[in-house]
């Protein structure tokens, strides 16, 4: 689970970067996102998302490959434009409990 503390006034720019670039680049490195969310009451200006990894080792390997991706480095430099969109990131790894649904899937909206 990753919690991004977004720079003031930069939420829309960060969401656009994920929508237009980051999510697609994640797919190259098997960084499978389950969902992205913004709290309804968002005093801290947070964006949260969860990435599913095969293992902790796979997570480290895939994140490193992502960080070294030339397109990502270019996109980040252009969109940050000297002022990072994200102030800080909290991340923690979690284990799914045994009775958790086996697949996260896509929600079936009704």
């Amino acid at each position: 689970m990753r919690t991004y503390y977004v720079a003031p006034g930069k939420m829309d720019a960060l969401l656009a970067r994920f929508a237009d670039h980051t999510e697609a680049i994640f797919k190259r490195y098997n960084l499978k996102t389950i969902g992205y969310w913004v709290p309804q009451e968002n005093e801290k200006n947070l964006l949260l998302y969860i990435v599913e990894h095969d293992s902790l080792e796979a997570a480290e390997k895939n994140w490193e490959a992502f960080r070294n991706d030339k397109e990502w480095q270019r996109v980040r430099a252009e969109t940050d434009a000297g002022v990072p969109l994200v102030v800080s990131i909290e991340r923690y790894f979690m284990d799914k409990v045994d009775f958790s649904k086996p697949k996260y899937g896509v929600s079936s909206k009704t």
């Binding site: 689970m1 969401l15 994920f18 929508a19 999510e23 996102t33 389950i34 969902g35 992205y36 969310w37 913004v38 709290p39 309804q40 009451e41 964006l47 949260l48 998302y49 969860i50 902790l56 923690y92 790894f93 979690m94 284990d95 799914k96 409990v97 045994d98 009775f99 958790s100 649904k101 996260y104 899937g105 896509v106 929600s107 909206k109 009704t110």
Partner: protein
């Protein structure tokens, strides 16, 4: 034909007919609301809390359309927490379903019996969240 394809067709047909449907363009079902719940387990009670969810609570949630996306425990669990996300059709639906669950006699019995030696959690953090447009779950 999938629902989204059908919706596209309907929207297209409306445009072709030139009917003024302003305000109807967002006819797709609204995004769901996701509730992130972080349970701070009482000291020594994390296993009992997880067992209660495994043996009882998760099944009872289903009665009240409380759809859990996943249950997790942090690997480095210094805060002794148990985390899960519930998917709701709306905030109003969430309130209604939680109230029904809280009033369930079987749940009240399970909770009372599981807490004879004290509560299994000290507090619960709840955050209601909206999915982003590009989220898989929404």
């Amino acid at each position: 034909m999938t629902k989204s394809h059908l919706l596209s067709f309907v929207c297209g047909a409306v445009a072709v007919l030139g009917i003024n449907m302003i305000g109807q363009s967002k006819a797709e079902a609204p995004n769901h609301v996701f509730e992130l719940r972080t349970y701070h387990a009482a000291p020594g009670k994390l296993d009992a809390l997880v067992a209660r969810f495994r043996d009882h609570t998760d099944t009872m949630f289903k009665k009240y359309d409380l759809k859990t996306v996943g249950y997790w425990i942090p690997q480095d669990n210094t805060d002794n927490v148990f985390i899960y996300i519930v998917e709701h059709k709306s905030k109003a639906d969430a309130d209604k379903n939680w109230a029904a669950f809280q009033a369930d006699e079987a749940w009240k019995k399970v909770r009372t019996e599981s807490e004879v030696n004290g509560p299994l959690q000290t507090k619960v953090d709840r955050v209601f969240m909206n999915p982003t447009d590009f989220s898989k779950l929404k």
